[in-house]
């Protein structure tokens, strides 16, 4: 049981990291990014390939994962500069699909749908499986803590203020003297870097990645986590990720207790319950668990 709880906390941490990355792009700068799994995938593949094929040390691989995703994020921000809202959503969705299809088809590089296995983990094999779990738990939540502190600072700084302004009215932000594109590029880059780092950490925890792992389902979970937690608030991203993980895993035990239904019906009930809980949460807390608040008060 403990091993399971630890493992789920590791996953929750990875989800929290992804939600934080998404929050910079979407929550702060208002750029709808439904392709986050693409950036996660880029980070995961970059680190996995560099550590397994070129034998880079792991920390370098993780950093490379973040950098590759960040570069893609910068490129994306430049390409979609003119697009807003839902139009941006489809382009980012498409981007994630492209990443997944390239990973599936360019076998020479990515090993195709077979995926990459044997990705090293820190001290994996040297310590007990549970020891490894605990080490990774520390690493992941340390990463979450660092990302949280840095991003919360960003969010409450003048930089964050400009991003919020851009989110709501680009023209006004431009007239206020802010180079809108440059701000967007930076926000997208930072967010994508966090997503890429999350992907890299993910790869080295599971030891295996495959294109199917970066299907839209993961995007849906993270987006739901962020919305449940509260878009815009960095704390919300973390709370939301924990909440979604609790739902995903908690429903397992609940659905196990229902008598008289077939396994498929149980599976259907479980997924249905996850969806329903999120709908209910939004219904009664439309701003999420932690609504965005402004920190800049006239009289501090």
């Amino acid at each position: 049981m403990e091993a399971y709880l630890v493992a789920m906390l590791v996953f929750a941490g990875l989800y929290a990291l992804m939600a934080l990355g998404l929050n910079v792009i979407w929550g702060l700068a208002g750029m709808v990014n439904l392709g986050l799994v693409g950036f996660v995938g880029l980070g995961a593949y970059a680190s996995a390939l560099l550590t397994t094929k070129l034998f880079w040390p792991m920390p370098l691989g993780w950093a490379a994962g973040a950098v590759v995703a960040a570069a893609a994020g910068a490129g994306m921000a430049l390409i979609v500069a003119r697009l807003r809202g839902d139009y941006l959503a489809i382009v980012t969705l498409g981007f994630a699909e492209v990443i997944r299809l390239v990973a599936s088809n360019e076998i020479w590089l990515t090993n195709g749908t077979d995926g990459i296995s044997g990705i090293p983990g820190p001290w994996r094999g040297d310590v007990s499986p549970q020891g490894f779990n605990l080490i990774y738990l520390g690493i992941v939540w340390a990463a979450v803590a660092v990302a949280f502190i840095l991003l919360a600072r960003l969010s409450h700084s003048p930089f964050g203020r400009v991003l919020r302004a851009i989110r709501e009215d680009e023209d006004v932000a431009a007239v206020a003297g802010k180079p809108v594109l440059w701000f967007k590029v930076r926000a997208f880059t930072i967010g994508a870097a966090v997503l890429g780092a999350a992907g890299a950490l993910y790869a080295h925890y599971n030891a295996y990645i495959a294109p199917e792992g970066f299907a839209p389902l993961l995007t849906i979970y993270i987006v739901l986590a962020l919305t449940a937690g509260g878009v815009g608030a960095m704390r919300g991203a973390i709370i939301g990720a924990l909440f979604v993980m609790l739902l995903l895993e908690g429903t397992r035990f609940l659905s196990g207790a229902i008598p008289g239904v077939s396994p498929v019906q149980k599976a259907a009930l479980r997924e249905g319950a996850i969806a329903l809980s999120l709908i209910l949460l939004l219904r009664f807390r439309p701003q999420g668990l932690i609504p965005e608040t402004t920190r800049t008060k006239a009289s501090p």
Partner: protein, 289 residues
């Protein structure tokens, strides 16, 4: 491409593929046009429609011509229920929150169907017709008929929105619901009409997809990306735009074999979308907002 016929055939295939996406895309844009949020639950509504029609046709032996209207009514009713119970209270929180809730709704509906029907693939009780051939180019009469249905529905809705009092009220509510209320329109009633029509069209389209392929709980989910893409490329909220966008996406996907490889079907469609949006950020027929 050895022959001009091959190119014509690919275009024609694209139109066929597009016409399957067309009705759900129109339904999507119909809801967007009034409520201004992307309703991804359209995927769930499509599946509901497909199954309602299947029950009528394969279980109770109704002809397709009767089962289709039933699919429309059933999914329209479910859409209405989803709107009233789940989405309406969220509208104040902004379109993105509603959009996210609609994703959850799709998962919920998918699993409601799964609970009732399991994962098996099912087909309608309908003979499959051979293609007609014209000078080496093949067209399938059933698919042609589906295209016909889609175009008629699009045209009817376009006329309704463009020229009737109801259509004007719908657009007014989309623009400024509070002012519409001041002028005597019940914005909720208008919203309900739009959601019913939009959800109904999605279900109708879902059943056409089922007729063309077969159905399972993922029927709607499989096409939702393409449907959303069609709506966006055509211009969000534009009815003729959705029809046109569906064609662009359909042709884009069928071009995969020509441009890249069939394994990159989605990629070619995506490149087509990107290309369109580069030049028209508001979609082909979308107005500015």
């Amino acid at each position: 491409m050895e022959d001009w016929r091959d190119l014509v055939q690919v275009l024609l295939n694209g139109v066929m593929a597009g016409s399957v996406l067309m009705l759900p895309a129109i339904g999507f844009n119909c809801i967007f046009a009034v409520l201004r949020y992307p309703n991804f639950a359209i995927a769930g509504f499509a599946t509901i429609g497909a199954f309602a029609g299947w029950v009528a046709n394969a279980v109770y032996g109704w002809p397709i011509g009767l089962a289709l209207p039933l699919a429309f009514l059933a999914s329209g009713a479910v859409a209405l229920l989803a709107e009233e119970a789940a989405f309406r209270p969220l509208r104040a929180a902004g379109p993105l929150t509603v959009a996210i809730a609609s994703v959850a709704m799709t998962i919920l509906l998918e699993n409601v169907i799964r609970f009732g029907f399991g994962n098996d693939l099912r087909g309608y009780d309908l003979p499959i017709l051979r293609d007609w051939r014209f000078d080496g180019i093949r067209v399938n009469p059933q698919q042609l008929q589906n295209t016909g249905y889609a175009i008629v529905a699009a045209a009817a809705l376009f006329l309704l929105l463009g020229f009737s009092r109801l259509g004007r009220a719908m657009r007014a509510v989309a623009d400024n619901p509070v002012l519409a209320d001041i002028k005597g329109v019940d914005p909720n009633r208008i919203a309900r009409v739009a959601v019913f029509i939009g959800g109904g069209l999605a279900g109708f389209g879902g059943m056409l997809i089922g007729i063309d392929t077969s159905i399972d709980p993922l029927t709607g989910f499989r096409v939702v990306l393409s449907v959303f893409a069609a709506a966006v490329v055509g211009g969000l909220g534009s009815i003729p735009g959705a029809a046109l966008g569906a064609m662009v996406v359909g042709v884009g996907e069928e071009m995969a074999g020509v441009v890249l490889q069939p394994a990159y079907r989605s990629v070619t469609a995506f490149l087509a979308i990107l290309l369109v949006l580069m030049f028209r950020p508001q979609g082909l027929l979308g107005g500015r907002n």
